[in-house]
Symmetry: C2
Subunit: 355 residues, 2 copies
DNA sequence: ATGAAAGCGCTAACAT
DNA sequence: ATGTTAGCGCTTTCAT
């Protein structure tokens, strides 16, 4: 009975005023103590002690109302099943945590309805947004930018260049893979693409095709794998069952390349010997001995660094240039494709090709 | 020049008062219009129109200050490289989105310092927290619960039962795997464990060992794989190189089992024929043809459903019982382990064993 | 049905 | 160095 009142207090988190009262100061003093403002050593000590006692932590919600910054960065992603994305999320999360920002994750799935997503994205007054290949990316980016919240597209970029972005130099990658395959004496190349709306898929496959044709070879056979494991499995099966099967298959991402490797094996073909398979991303699994996938490594670290750096600069008031940064990656050579001459080895023993 | 003023306005998001002014009503009316309160059809129409015009969206930050609910659920995870976790995050995200909550992701890595994490977790007045095998779980859970924010531990649970949790019935799983292996005529079992502090690892391996011994066989050889790919690779290599190698290896999660399968192959042993390997989790990759891993499937969907349901109930005012729910999974039979009699097939053609 | 006013927990001038 | 005051954008009595 006697404790009823104090028990109820537990239900509400202590406020700055509570601390102020206990410490015998004003709430501004408390605020200052927690924000590196001017407070006497004596007062600061009493405040900190009171805070400890009450288990007080400033409400970041209330703070963001006055400071007009939420400390929240939104990251929108379509799905997490392509292993490239969890890796990206981990990198971003790490940088964000160093910079004292929190990560609000939006997995948009096939969502086509913009409004609800916008309400959330914009409603929380996020300080910035990373659109990592969200299905709604282009549209979303435009809307957010209009509402004055910094947005950068990650990996997939906007065809119409309505928003800033960062991506691997996909054209360079696609082209280099083509040269790699040509140098390895492959003469009948095929490519398995993702979805048509995806800039990464089109940029990679286009450069690949052009390079092949520029070298005087017939245009590669192009099949869609729809970015899915099943799609790529299907496409590979079909390719290998043809009368004149390709001697090399370029999959525009590792997720599909990994499926292709297995589909090839199922068809009795050994990747790297009977048919060469090359991916794009260099996800962790690509290096697993079973797959040993030759693939163009995206410079994930540099990409996430760039996206965060620019976002922070924008938050800092320097308006975001509507620019797409394209960072070159590196062709990692493993065993899923026949090797040409000129394969080099770096300090870690990783083999790569830069022809 | 003439537009300077209006341009500046763009920098700040429109507020409810702005809408009120344009619509010719009070800001309470605006609030009501956006919260299903009582407003005349006429007023509502004008308000909505004004809001559309100004691109107004209620500030969820400000709202949460008054309502004392943030609409934010925190999810803390150690890492994302064990593919089980991205799958979990996706499920949770999906449920949360249906329930109109946003997901704040904390990847804690090896973090040992509690305070900064707590400041964030508690500072944002998250409505609830899911501790999915965060390294700091036990401690964190206790502190949060003390601060009156609902916390549930996911997958790994607290040894000392200081916090509610949900997990697979790990003991049932470990035990069933043992019986499965015994039924398949395996006589020299080994187990590769995770880290010692992990409840999942200890529960699974303990039940496994006890079942083996209860059947009158010598205790399995136990090696730590440290939950890492490399650790499991090492352990498998060591196991298979011994004078009397085991005929079956139980890895306490798929992440390590996948490593074991490859290490076995590298050692010239075919999994399922020369040595049986069984995992735990049933991550997506486990079903890939190359691995075709026999594994105990965690009831991920049911687990995430339970965690969200209980969290929502707690947010709704019904205090969280300090209870750990253990949901049984199912032993999925594939090719990485020799099959005993009694394997059944479900409606989807998935093979399982329930002996 | 609608508006006025108070207040959520904080920060930021402005005094002193 | 410290307290007072006035908001931040919203919801929520309480009148009317």
């Amino acid at each position: 009975m006697k404790r009823a009142a104090s028990q109820n207090r537990v239900l509400k988190a202590p406020t700055g005023s509570d601390v102020a009262r206990v410490a015998g100061v004003s709430k501004s003093a408390v605020s200052r103590a927690f924000n590196g403002g001017l407070v006497s050593e004596d007062a600061r000590a009493r405040i900190l002690e009171a805070a400890r006692l009450l288990k007080y932590r400033p409400s970041l919600t209330a703070r963001s109302l006055t400071t007009n910054k939420s400390g929240l960065i939104g990251v929108a992603i379509t799905r997490l099943d392509n292993h490239f994305y969890p890796e990206v999320v981990e990198h971003i999360s790490e940088r964000l945590r160093e910079e004292k920002y929190r990560l609000v994750l939006f997995i948009t799935r096939g969502e086509t309805d913009l409004e609800p997503v916008l309400d959330e994205l914009l409603g929380y007054r996020l300080d910035g947004i990373v659109l990592a290949s969200s299905s709604l990316a282009g549209q979303l980016a435009a809307e957010c930018a209009q509402s004055n919240v910094p947005v950068i597209m990650f990996n997939n970029i906007d065809f119409e260049n309505r928003a800033p972005g960062v991506t691997t130099d996909n054209a360079a990658g696609g082209s280099q893979i083509a040269r790699f395959l040509l140098a390895g004496d492959h003469r009948r190349c095929a490519v398995i693409t993702g979805v048509a709306e995806s800039s990464t898929s089109t940029e990679r496959s286009k450069a690949f095709n052009e390079t092949i044709m520029a070298a005087g070879f017939p245009p590669p056979l192009v099949l869609s794998g729809d970015y899915s494991f099943e799609g790529a499995t299907q496409a590979t099966r079909q390719l290998l069952a043809s009368a004149t099967p390709p001697d090399a298959i370029f999959c525009v991402n590792d997720h599909m390349a990994l499926a292709a490797v297995q589909a090839a094996a199922a068809a009795g073909k050994t990747p790297g010997r009977d048919v060469s398979i090359v991916g794009f991303d260099n996800v962790n699994i690509a290096s697993w001995p079973t797959f040993s996938l030759t693939t163009y490594a995206q410079p994930t670290r540099q990409m996430t660094d760039d996206v965060i750096n620019r976002l922070l600069k924008a938050i800092d008031g320097h308006p975001l240039a509507n620019e797409t940064i394209r960072i070159p990656g590196r062709l990692i050579v493993r065993d899923s494709a026949r090797k040409p001459a000129g394969v080099k080895s770096d300090a870690h023993g990783t083999e790569y090709w830069d022809g």
